[in-house]
């Protein structure tokens, strides 16, 4: 097989105001083509109003093994959650 065209990651915005969300990836010769392929591949049923394509090589990602330093859930700090604090009866919606 000859050299693959570059890989692009595809992000869709479901409707205006929402974040773009990663939906998948595809190969294309350039960004313009990637946008067209993304439209063909991912938007057939009003899935979105905006597409971002980013070359996969331009995405810098944390490693699974870095989980402790990047994604420590801080389970030892329950006081960071609102539910940690008991409210007196009669106080709702805080």
């Amino acid at each position: 097989m000859s050299e693959l065209s570059p890989l692009f990651e595809v992000f869709l915005r479901g409707r205006r105001g929402l974040d773009h969300i990663h939906v998948g990836s595809l190969h294309a010769q350039d960004a313009g083509q990637a946008l067209e392929y993304a439209r063909d591949t991912y938007i057939r049923r009003s899935e979105g109003v905006s597409i971002w394509v980013v070359e996969s090589k331009d995405i810098h990602a944390s490693q699974e093994s870095d989980v402790a330093s990047f994604y420590d859930p801080m389970d030892d700090k329950p006081y960071r959650h609102a539910t940690h604090y008991t409210l007196p009866d009669g106080v709702d919606n805080m």
């Binding site: 905006s50 604090y85 409210l87 007196p88």
Partner: protein, 313 residues
């Protein structure tokens, strides 16, 4: 010229249809300026707001309270960063935004110019100041500018912890010794009126309100938001047996809202214009911290320069 009108029409149509404006959309210069003013002011408030709380960090009464306060202050820094990043999508740099604060061209919430005199103030700040901020921010989740709205959603998720820890903290004092209870009442007395001022001038006197409402940057008026805050806070005070320092406060059966006394607008103007108790201290502290961090920014720049140098670019 016809083209500009079309762009404006497209923009207006989006606003009318309750659609968000995104960074790459055309927008009127006034809309952009108004957003930069409001969002950077909001960001500065988060950052300057760390100072009155930081004042008690080393004197928190227990390790638990200290951990909570530290976590809250860390959140405020994070909220400032969400908001600075969202503001930067409007084509202004962080340096410009910070410079405007240092030059006095950009403001921050006037409440942070009041001193935190006792430990009870930390509870009062969480309960009242964060409580008022939440009322404002919940409405702003529906603001017309996409990045601002999304930042508000993230912030609101975290704010509930802030208000609850404050309320719980002041509630503990309110049911403590006579001295502790007096301290809690004193904190409420001092923070109540500045909290009401957080919502800004009356609608009729607010310089930017009318246009901001038309553009749906603001979704509820200053007076509407202030009323919501008063309505929800009165019973919270009653439940912990503290008295809101306003002789005119009473339920209005007809309006189905609480009536309340007039804010001291002269004090409000004085504080906004730089003459509050802590204005100079707050700004001086921010400038000092910024200057003290210069070597970090320089080091980062030098590191990046060194790295690109190595790769021969």
């Amino acid at each position: 010229m016809a083209e500009a009108n079309d762009l404006e029409q497209v923009f207006e149509n989006k606003i009318d249809a309750e659609e968000k404006i995104e960074p790459k959309d055309w927008m009127p210069e006034g809309y952009r300026k108004n957003l930069i003013r409001q969002m950077s002011q909001h960001a500065h408030s988060e950052v300057i707001g760390m100072q009155p709380e930081g004042n008690w960090l080393t004197r928190a009464p227990t390790l638990e309270r200290k951990s909570v306060l530290l976590a809250k202050i860390q959140d405020e820094a994070g909220h400032g960063l969400y908001l600075y990043s969202a503001t930067e999508t409007l084509g202004i740099t962080r340096e410009e935004i910070v410079q405007a604060l240092h030059d006095g061209r950009a403001k921050y919430a006037s409440i942070f110019n009041y001193p935190s005199l006792t430990w009870a103030d930390i509870g009062a700040i969480g309960w009242l100041v964060d409580g008022a901020a939440i009322v404002n921010q919940v409405a702003l989740q529906r603001t017309s500018y996409g990045p601002y709205a999304r930042a508000m959603v993230r912030i609101c998720k975290e704010e509930s912890f802030h208000q609850r820890q404050g309320y719980e903290s002041i509630a503990v004092l309110a049911r403590g010794s006579a001295q502790q209870k007096a301290m809690a009442q004193d904190a409420l007395n001092r923070w109540w009126w500045p909290s009401l001022m957080m919502f800004g001038p009356h609608d009729a006197d607010s310089a930017h309100s009318a246009q901001s409402m038309l553009w749906k940057i603001k979704r509820k008026s200053n007076d509407e938001l202030r009323q919501s805050f008063v309505d929800q806070t009165v019973s919270q005070a009653e439940i912990i047996d503290l008295e809101i320092p306003d002789p005119d406060l009473k339920w209005n059966e007809q309006r189905q809202h609480f009536d309340f006394g007039e804010i001291d607008w002269d004090e409000f103007k004085q504080v906004i214009n730089g003459n509050g108790l802590c204005n100079r201290e707050r700004l001086a502290q921010h400038k000092k911290a910024h200057a003290n961090g210069a070597w970090v920014r320089d080091a980062v720049a030098a590191y990046v320069k060194g790295k690109t140098g190595e790769s021969g670019e």
